[in-house]
């Protein structure tokens, strides 16, 4: 099952000197993202599957094989989702909202 990621609402993010910094405004957890994580963060639109982000952006830009990149991406997404910074769904994010509304 593919996963779709979107940025959470209780966050503050800022690019400074080429580094992306993200902070949870609910528990004040601070993350600085490396280049690969920054690409995933910027692509987290809730509509693009994580596997597609890995294949089309990470593997192409950083010359890494898909299996290894997917493991790293999953670990990163799991960590940030624990703090509510990334939201994860098995469905595209907009579709998920529509499904909830239609119930």
């Amino acid at each position: 099952m593919d996963r779709y990621i979107a940025r959470g609402s209780g966050i503050a993010a800022r690019m400074l000197g080429g580094e992306m910094m993200v902070m949870s405004t609910t528990d004040s957890t601070f993350f600085s993202l490396n280049e690969v994580a920054t690409v995933i963060w910027q692509a987290a639109d809730g509509r693009t599957p994580l596997s597609e982000i890995v294949a089309n952006k990470i593997c192409l830009e950083f010359d890494v094989d898909q299996e290894r990149a997917q493991v790293g991406a999953d670990r990163f997404v799991d960590e940030l989702s624990r703090h509510g910074i990334l939201l994860v769904s098995e469905h595209p994010w907009i579709s998920s909202l529509q499904m909830r509304e239609s119930r």
């Binding site: 503050a12 000197g17 580094e19 910094m21 902070m23 405004t25 004040s28």
Partner: protein, 458 residues
């Protein structure tokens, strides 16, 4: 039926009105005896109220105002305010009256009631009317018999030295432990019988006036904040302080909690509870009789104000040398006091504990603070543009290292005073730290504690 001044008809009435207006203009305060019953049970006939001169901008909802209308003075509660092109206007109503007072073009707010004297007690009128009081007012307004009975009962209680309302206040005082829900806190406490003295404290160019009945306590604070006593006229905010003996302090639960409720900031710790209404520029603190609660109050209020302006308070020593300010930040034991002691003679110490950073356009200024660390010395009330921000680490030699932006911001955030559990506030502080890091070089200063440490700095 109104809580108006007992004025004789004709020319004498106008003369008394002129006297009231003149007294307010000259001294800013006037004492008046309540005559009517429209404010029952908040005000009873015979009460003497102290009225402080005020404009519509000075009052907040729930204040009791002195209003001049149709050549008569009324003491009624402000139940609504309205901002228009002509400025702030207001609507009043007696607590015992079923309707708002008629809105007339000539209504003029002369002042607000700041204290009520009843028999041998003086108290500050609350801004909220309880449901019980509303019911009493409603009954008094509609039934001549019950109103007459209530007045007789009131007179009997006064003679007995224990009046109805003071009994309620007495109960309130007893209930009012620091464990009481903060949202119920009002300024309705008994006063010892004289007006509050004011001590304006100016830090970072902003003045907070502390108002208290205890002159000795304020005198003690004045000594503690020597060099930072400002002008009352320039006060940005006023805080009324009510003190309780430290022995009444609860033994546990002293963790600081800062929350926001309907635009008011609520601050509580084991030794104090405070409510601050920024829009009204007023606040209230009930605190143990020690200066530490005032220190905390000032730090928190400044922190909340600075965050909106892109500034912050930070655990750091700071000093001015050659018209430039340098900040040395670190946790306890990092060397803030040490580097302050080692400062060359031509350096002006701003603080060895809490530094004040304020944004002004595209530059940042450091201000002195009265918050002293181990040095035990209040900083100088001066300011200068910040030329460098150093994160302190003790080592075997002196060196300055650059930091990557993310590490700089992360370490800066660790040392910024952070009180509010509020997402909006957290985001403001985060953005302020990022902006600061992009404008001021943040570097690691590894130092060996001798006077040469200042050589590579400036």
């Amino acid at each position: 039926m109104s809580s108006s001044i007992p004025l004789a008809p004709g020319g004498a009435q106008e003369a008394k009105l002129d006297l009231v207006v003149e007294a307010l203009r000259r001294s800013g305060k006037v004492q008046l005896r309540v005559w009517g019953m429209s404010m029952l049970p908040s005000l009873w006939p015979g009460d003497v109220v102290t009225v402080k001169a005020a404009t519509p901008e000075d009052v907040v909802l729930g204040d009791i105002g002195l209003v001049l209308r149709n050549k008569r003075c009324f003491i009624h509660r402000i139940v609504a305010t309205k901002l228009s092109q002509d400025g702030q206007s207001f609507i009043t109503r007696g607590d015992a009256m079923p309707d708002d007072d008629p809105s007339t073009a000539d209504a003029e707010l002369l002042g607000r009631v700041v204290a009520v004297r009843r028999a041998n007690r003086i108290f500050v009128p609350g801004r909220r009317v309880s449901s019980t009081d509303s019911a009493i007012g409603w009954i008094a307004c509609r039934s001549d018999v019950l109103r007459s009975l209530a007045l007789k009962f009131h007179a009997v209680r006064l003679r007995a030295g224990s009046i109805l309302v003071s009994a309620r206040l007495g109960l309130f005082r007893k209930r009012f432990s620091v464990f009481e829900p903060l949202s119920t806190m009002t300024s309705a406490v008994t006063l010892p019988g004289h007006d509050r003295e004011t001590l304006p404290i100016e830090i970072g160019g902003m003045t907070i006036a502390l108002r208290c009945h205890d002159r000795l306590f304020l005198r003690h604070l004045a000594g503690r904040y020597a060099g930072f006593v400002g002008s009352r006229r320039l006060a940005n905010f006023e805080f009324d302080i009510d003190l309780y003996e430290p022995s009444e302090s609860p033994p546990a639960g002293d963790g600081l909690k800062v929350t926001v409720e309907k635009g008011d900031w609520l601050l509580q710790r084991g030794d104090f509870r405070a409510r601050w209404t920024p829009n009204a520029r007023r606040g209230y603190i009930r605190q143990a009789k020690n200066p530490y609660a005032c220190d905390s109050l000032l730090r928190i209020v400044h922190t909340l104000i600075l965050a909106k302006q892109g500034g912050f308070l930070v655990h750091a020593a700071s000093a001015i040398r050659g018209s430039k300010a340098f900040i040395f930040s670190g946790v306890s034991g990092a060397g803030k006091t040490t580097i302050s002691r080692l400062a060359p003679p031509d350096a002006t110490l701003l603080t060895d504990e809490i530094s004040y950073v304020r944004r002004e356009g595209d530059r940042y200024l450091a201000f002195g603070t009265p918050f002293a660390g181990e040095l035990g010395k209040v900083g100088k009330n001066q300011s200068a543009p910040i030329a460098g921000f150093f994160l302190l680490e003790k080592g075997s030699q002196n060196c300055i290292e650059s930091l990557k932006p993310a590490e700089a911001v992360q370490r800066l955030l660790r040392n910024i005073l952070f009180f509010a559990e509020n997402p909006t506030f957290v985001e403001l502080v985060f953005q302020a730290a990022c902006e600061f890091a992009s404008a001021v070089p943040i570097q690691r200063l590894v130092f060996f504690p001798d006077q040469r440490v200042w050589e590579p700095i400036c």
